[in-house]
């Protein structure tokens, strides 16, 4: 009896410790973003009156950051939609076809995700330069879709496996075309999966720094690139950096909190069956 109590306390202690360690930098960032500029460099425990000045500065000092926000929203949304439109039929095909090399194709598609950034960004940069579409939303969306689609195919494939084939068979017997059955029978059933998949798609584009750095230098600059701009040659604007960080990360957190269950299911789907 006594031993069980002690064990429980130790476990709770370690869980709390882990949560504090992993959550601390996030909480810290949030507090720092509300600190008045003059107090940023004071002792971390010093009292301060919260202010939104850093946020105003982040948007105000350079119009760059606001444009980056709209760029990021446009690029990430378009990427998500495009990757799902192209990716989910492919995932469906992979989950249903009898074709022998299907597993090889599935692995090859996943490997695209693992291609080092420069290996793909360099030729895309040169080709886009030739076509005159460098530093446009278009090239960013195209590039982000290529690296996002493999992820989407992989996760969606897992969700399609969970849907019994009989459903679409009966729809086809009732006179539906396969495409029709896919759109009006299968897709609605995978809505939770689609929600999780959209998150993955959005994150993969929203969080990217490498491709954005190379392909969107000015007009198509995204948030992760723009926030690096607060590190200037004459000094680092820490207040703006913390405010900018919160702006970049907050929507992601809200998303995750909303669909956490599906997010975790999608994440572990490929690896853990059942």
């Amino acid at each position: 009896m006594d031993k069980g109590w002690l064990q429980k306390t130790i476990i709770i202690f370690f869980i709390t410790l882990a949560c504090v360690v992993f959550f601390f930098p996030l909480l810290f960032t949030f507090f720092m973003s509300l600190k008045p500029y003059m107090q940023l460099f004071e002792e971390p425990t010093a009292f301060f009156v919260p202010t939104l000045k850093n946020y105003i500065n982040a948007f105000g000092q350079r119009d760059d950051f606001f444009r980056a926000l709209t760029n990021s929203l446009v690029i990430s949304s378009a990427t998500t939609i495009l990757a799902i439109v192209f990716g989910s039929p492919l995932a469906y095909w992979l989950s249903r076809t009898q074709f022998r090399g299907k597993n090889l194709i599935a692995v090859a598609i996943l490997m695209i995700r693992m291609i080092p950034m420069v290996s793909l960004a360099l030729p895309i940069y040169l080709l886009a330069d030739n076509l005159g579409i460098l530093d446009t939303h278009l090239v960013m969306i195209l590039a982000h879709t290529s690296i996002t689609m493999p992820l989407i195919v992989w996760v969606m494939r897992g969700f399609f496996f969970t849907i019994p084939v009989e459903l679409e068979e009966s729809a086809v017997i009732d006179g539906c075309s396969r495409l029709r059955a896919f759109i009006s029978v299968i897709m609605p059933l995978t809505l939770p999966g689609l929600a999780a998949t959209s998150i993955f798609g959005f994150l993969s584009s929203w969080n990217d720094l490498g491709y954005a750095l190379i392909l969107g230098t000015f007009n198509a600059k995204t948030l992760p690139v723009s926030v690096q701009g607060f590190v200037t040659p004459i000094g680092t604007l820490w207040g703006e950096i913390f405010a900018g960080s919160v702006i970049i990360v907050a929507p992601v957190f809200i998303f995750i909190l909303l669909v956490q269950k599906h997010f975790i299911r999608g994440l572990t789907m490929g690896a853990v069956k059942g």
Binding site: P25, E43, V85, G87, M114, P116, L120, W206, I241
Partner: protein
């Protein structure tokens, strides 16, 4: 009759295959082939008026003999081995801790999930402050104990370890979630039967939990190893490869060749060598995975 129907069935499946594949062919395979061709040419964008000229294997020879490739590879390897083994260990411990019912389980799982979805470029900036020798939080705590300030990122001896720590902070969440899902897949009967047999906690861990979890650990480790070998964002923001190249990992080097020296041919060759390494890792893990699954299914 049946054959015809089967054929029609397969034909109608084909339309699902076409659009996605076509997209990847145009935006991934074609650029990769273009860069393969590029890797056999000499072309510097600083002087674009000089057309690319065919140089055979010269770029690849340059990569292996003169670019410092082996050092960069070793550094990357060091980073990956250290970071991934720490992540596996911590992730596993956390998963064991949280694989039970307790008040606040959902909240703690959420808190532990958040780091992995954060933008690496932002994570880098935040940790740059945390590590800062003058006003960073770590040095503040150390100063409470009377220690002198340490420039973690400015010292070649500690910079790589500092990078590893950030990666561990961010990506342990991933390992944890994978392993928690794996643990929840362990059938309750296995626990029950092993406790009837009088197995101690340790025996159960080694004989029941780890074998069942092995495929999950392998897959998670494979994904993380590959991501580790292509790490770019975090290094670019935190150290830019410095101080004195101590954190120059291979993908950062490839970026530098391409976009600081503008040697397009060499960069293409370099990045193809990295692709080769990635394929090699995939094959090694794939073999292990096959073996462990075969053992597992008897």
């Amino acid at each position: 009759m049946k054959k015809i129907r089967k054929k029609r069935f397969l034909n109608s499946m084909f339309i699902f295959f076409i659009p996605g594949t076509l997209y990847l062919l145009v935006t991934v395979i074609y650029p990769l082939l273009y860069s393969l061709q590029l890797s056999f040419t000499s072309w510097n964008l600083v002087r674009p008026e000089i057309e690319p000229s065919f140089v055979g294997l010269e770029n690849f020879i340059w990569v292996f003999t003169q670019s410092g490739f082996w050092w960069n590879l070793l550094r990357t390897f060091y980073f990956v081995v250290l970071a991934i083994s720490l992540e596996i260990l911590l992730g596993f411990l956390l998963a064991l801790l949280l694989n039970r019912e307790f008040y606040g389980k959902k909240l703690s799982r959420t808190l532990l999930t958040l780091p992995m979805v954060m933008t690496p470029g932002v994570v880098g900036l935040i940790w740059k402050w945390i590590y800062n020798p003058e006003f960073g939080i770590i040095n503040y705590f150390m100063s409470l104990f009377g220690a002198d300030p340490v420039s973690f990122l400015g010292n070649p001896d500690t910079a790589m370890l500092a990078l590893v720590l950030v990666d561990v902070w961010q990506m342990t969440s991933f390992m944890f979630l994978m392993m928690l899902a794996g643990l929840q897949g362990v059938p309750q009967e296995l626990y029950d039967s092993s406790s009837i047999d009088g197995a101690s906690g340790w025996q159960r861990l080694i004989n029941v939990i780890i074998p069942v979890l092995k495929p999950v650990i392998l897959i998670a480790a494979m994904i993380r190893t590959m991501e580790g070998f292509r790490i770019f964002d975090l290094v670019y923001v935190l150290t830019e490869g410095g101080p004195s190249n101590s954190t120059e990992v291979i993908s950062l080097k490839a970026y530098n060749i391409a976009f600081r020296q503008f040697e397009m041919g060499r960069a293409a060759a370099y990045s193809y060598v990295i692709v080769g390494i990635m394929i090699f890792i995939g094959l090694v893990y794939g073999r292990y995975l096959q073996k462990s699954e075969r053992l597992y299914s008897g």
